[in-house]
Amino acid sequence: MRAFLAALVAFSVAAHANAFEGSPGRLLGSAPSLEWLDERTMRVDALSTLRNDPRVIVRMPKSAETPWEIPVTVDARAIPDVERIVLSLDGTAAPRILTYYPGAAEARLSFRFEMATPTPVRASVRTQDGRWFIGGTTVDAGRGGADRKNTADEPVGTVRGRLWPESGRLRVIVRHPTEDAETPDAVGSRLEDLSLHGPDGRLARLELSEPVVRDPAFTFYFPPRSVSNPIRLVGRDSRGNAVEATIPAPLTQ
């Protein structure tokens, strides 16, 4: 049974990878069964090599003050040859928050996500040679009561962002509503896939799951002075709507 699963998994991973090669920004959600097997892959082929490692750092505030946009920074730079980082929530039916393929970027990412009930947050880091390293943190309930600020004045898909070439930071926010009907024609949809492209190809890629809902915001970290404008951002939401933006050359630098 184990061998069968492994074979199935190997096949599905290959198929999965093919779906992305040469077609940056393709929808992961178009193949939900592969998505599920991808999560299985993490568990099944990790059994012999999975270990907790203090080099996987997950940092969050002490309390989940605004549960719909909890900030987190994951940093696995101390581990060489990181292929991907999977952020997940313990004890939930849909554990994955996102999968980050850093590519040309550092193995470090900051973003916000939604967490209705405080639960441990885990980062599973896979290296190029197939080993997994785990780290995580916990967060308390907040004091509560703060209101969500309304950002509905900007159209869905609006991208704000900037590259700081000297430090290699790239920050983007994508305007996307939650399910609370503030923008009826986008209700129930969410951003599923986001990638960054330079003149020579794809730089980094994100696959996003349910907890990354409202106005997703990311800081990518490239090595200082390693990337330059323009950088193209390509994404797609679960309804197939494209998100595209070009981070332009700075006016003065």
Binding site: P61, R112, R143, A146, T246
Partner: protein
């Protein structure tokens, strides 16, 4: 009297006579301190909510009017409200006639159930906000305070208090309907003493809280309060202020907070990285730091960042 705590709360819930202090291990020791003619403050800790302080982190005020005693802000729990009520009726011998809530935040309003048989007055918007957010506050504070929250339920203020020259229980006030800390921040200038009961528009030696802050409006409100040149200021949190330092400190902190978050957003920092920034020594020593700064980053950063990052089309 050897009432059990539950029996005491039962009496209270029934709205009968003067409620007894809860006799359990979670007893509040509230000591009204005279700060003016017919005016007392009950001073809270300058820390965050904790199992140690039971959420008694807020300043309540007691004032004696011709028609009876006035209680301003009912505290964070039913137990606090009951303790406040019991101690209030000892300060002058008068019964409580009216209760006022400065704004809807839980540390100021969740003790109201202990006063449910009395008129509880607040700005109209505060009444609405209490009803909207109260249940969430109760749920969250139950996690933080545990048993201290026993019996605590949302009791929104039941009558409006309007701005202007008003009389409450026969005592004269200049009431101001301001905003900035929340959408509706009531401030009372006590005419007899010249003391300004400032609510949470003003903090002293405790980091201001910002879950519902509108910084520009908050600054405007501080300017109006400064112009009053009150004899003394009773901040929402922290000691009584005879010099105006509380307004200056609150303004300086909010200025620094906004400037710091703007600068961080302009450098591409994410929220967790902003929280790592070193606080200036004058603000690091305020009560509830650095946790309150971390909370403020969460409250304020996303909106400020949206203003700063260029839109890409």
């Amino acid at each position: 009297m050897s009432l059990t705590r539950r029996a005491a709360l039962g009496t209270l819930a029934a709205g009968l006579t003067t409620p007894a202090l809860p006799q359990a291990r979670n007893a509040y020791k509230l000591e009204p301190k005279p700060i003016g003619p017919g005016l007392w403050m009950v001073e809270g800790a300058t820390d965050d909510y904790s199992q140690q302080n039971g959420g008694a982190i807020v300043n309540s005020a007691l004032l004696e009017g011709e028609a009876g005693l006035i209680v301003v802000d009912t505290g964070p729990t039913l137990g606090y409200g009951a303790a406040l009520r019991a101690v209030a009726e000892t300060v002058s011998g008068k019964r409580i006639a009216e209760v006022v809530v400065t704004h809807h935040h839980p540390d100021h309003s969740l003790g109201s159930k202990a006063f449910a048989d009395l008129p509880i007055r607040a700005l109209p918007r505060t009444r609405a906000l209490t009803a909207i957010h109260g249940p969430t506050y109760v749920a969250n504070l139950e996690r933080v305070l545990g048993d201290w929250m026993e019996g605590t339920e949302v009791v929104p203020p039941d009558s409006d208090l309007d701005a202007g020259r008003i009389s409450i229980a026969g005592r004269e006030f200049q009431a101001m309907a301001l905003s900035g800390h929340t959408e509706a921040d009531l401030v009372l200038l006590d005419i007899a003493s010249g003391v300004l009961i400032a609510g949470d528009l003003v903090f002293l030696n405790r980091a201001p809280t910002t879950p519902d802050a509108h910084l520009a409006q908050w600054h405007q409100s501080l300017s109006e309060l400064q112009a009053l040149e009150a004899a003394a200021i009773l901040p929402g949190h922290g000691p009584l202020d005879w010099t105006g330092e509380s307004i200056r400190q609150t303004r300086a902190y909010l200025d620094w907070l906004e400037a710091t978050i703007r600068a961080a957003a302009a450098e591409g920092l994410d929220m967790v990285e902003v929280m790592d920034l070193q606080l200036p020594s004058g603000f690091a020593t305020l009560g509830a730091q650095p946790d309150e700064f971390h909370r403020s980053v969460i409250h304020l950063f996303p909106e400020i960042e949206r203003e700063i990052l260029p839109r890409l089309d």
